[in-house]
Amino acid sequence: MAEISSGSAQYIYVCTRMRVRRSQLIPREDYLRMLNMSLPEITRFIEDTGYKSEIDELATAFSGIDLVEVALSWNLAKEYQSILAITPGELMRFTASYLRRWDIQNVLTILRGKTQGMPAGKIREVLIPAGALDRVFLDRMLAEDSPERVVEALKGMRLYPVLEREFPRALETGSFARLENELYKGYYERLLAETKGGVKGGRVFKGYVQLEIDIRNIQNLFRLRAQPTLEDVREMMIPGGSFTVDELQRLSTAESRDEFIDGVKKQVTLPPLLNVLEDLRSERPIHEVEIALTRVQLEQMDRVSKRYPFSITPILVYLEQKKYEVANLRALARGKEAGLPGERIRSYLVM
């Protein structure tokens, strides 16, 4: 009995709750309707859809479009924390590991802000405590008087070995780029390591992470190829996906876009990804390429979650979909504020 309650029953419980939460996400039709709304109408719509408590809570500190954006981020953080609270055992471990990317983002923001001498209040506005480091811990880091002390405060945590190795160099060179890349590579390495050892659901989780790594590497190759001076991209590629780092380096040096896409297609088997790669042969802004590839990733993850309805994937798909709901609402509000045409805003939405 104990075996059952700690195994499949928990999967069914959590995945069912995720399905319920997914059904509450804003549907595509509402985004299309919002494209024709004015900014105050969008703000009212956001208030009516479950972001009200955050908007009310933050209304004294922020106003206008900043209030909308910060409220969306806070809601995202709160939602992720509540998912961690209801997810048991192995699922919780996978989910918490997956959410650690937010810790990397927050730690880097604090380190950069501290190095540049930014006031703590300014840095706090930019933090999204959606990972394992909660708001209290982040506030403690913010109270430290130097970036070195911030690193010391992370001693014993997962990020510390990379920080200990790379931070002195970052301070010396004044650039956190390498440190950031190493932290994200460490994050994916750790995620893949967790899927080993015959853990239940590990295989599905591994497939999910590898797809994400592949998409990220392809996106970055498109991005790096647009840079005229970069020769060695190995340091910026994430190992562990379908491509080795050397293969990615070879692809980055392909003479033409067609040659590059042909090279990628040789190793990709996913039909939707093949179709999108074919579409990307024509020149277009890199951020549109990224959005097209992100859409493929989400659709594929959605398909996998339907194939394995009681696994880690429904949780991860919900996390991603929630992230993109927040990103879409933010895009709509920011796009309307900037006066971008509806069609243009629509091209940035991940629906």
Binding site: I128, S175, E180
Partner: protein, 209 residues
């Protein structure tokens, strides 16, 4: 120069003639300088028009890109990426000489950066940040270029204005006044000569009678 203050002497006449010659030479040189500066100004004006146009285009692009970055990444994402900017561009001010006018020559370093120099990692950001950073680097570059050209244009204009004032002063005031003074002295000297001649004749007539 009031005529009553002029001493009608030969030495003064020589002095004034020398000054007229000098003024006329100065007038010709300044007129040539003014024409040269105007030619130079029209060249710079074309460059200024081009650089202003390019700057406006780049400003529109940068504004559009920051709006897109705010839309795609959110202001939070853009601010977090902006924390990465470690190196500030440095501007070195030199000067060059265009027909005696000292104009600035601005050299900027570390304006345009590649991905590795911008300070943010590739794995934690998206391409829209690169495109926005690039748009602002372009804008900054054209602001520096426009600043150099427009300051040159302003200094040339000031110099043309003051040269024109000097040419006009020489043409319509200094040279006519000196000529008038010279004529006056000549007339006075002639008159004095005639008076002297008359006096001598009178003395001669009185002594012979």
């Amino acid at each position: 120069m009031a005529l009553r203050d002029i001493k009608p002497t030969r030495s003064e006449l020589i002095n004034i003639k020398r000054r007229i010659k000098l003024s006329e030479r100065g007038y010709n040189i300044l007129k040539m300088k003014r024409d040269g500066l105007i030619l130079e100004f029209f060249k710079v004006l074309q460059q200024a028009k081009d650089s202003r146009g390019a700057m406006q285009e780049r400003y529109a692009r940068a504004t559009e890109m920051i709006a897109i970055a705010d839309t795609v990444e959110g202001a939070i994402g853009v601010k977090a990426a902006a924390f990465s900017a470690a190196d500030r561009p440095e501007i070195t001010l030199k000067s060059k000489n265009i027909m005696g006018v000292v104009v600035p020559e601005i050299e900027a370093s570390a304006v345009r950066k590649n991905l590795a120099e911008r300070g943010y990692g590739v794995l934690g950001t998206s391409a829209v940040i690169d495109e926005t950073a690039e748009a602002f680097e372009d804008l900054l570059e054209s602001i520096i270029e426009a600043a150099e050209i427009e300051t040159t244009m302003k200094r040339l204009l000031d110099e043309i204005e003051s040269t024109k004032r000097r040419v006009n002063a020489l043409e319509f005031k200094v040279i006519p006044e000196l000529t008038e003074a010279s004529n006056f002295i000549k007339m006075r000297l002639d008159e004095m000569e005639r008076e002297e001649l008359f006096r001598l004749k009178k003395i001669k007539a009185r002594s012979s009678s």
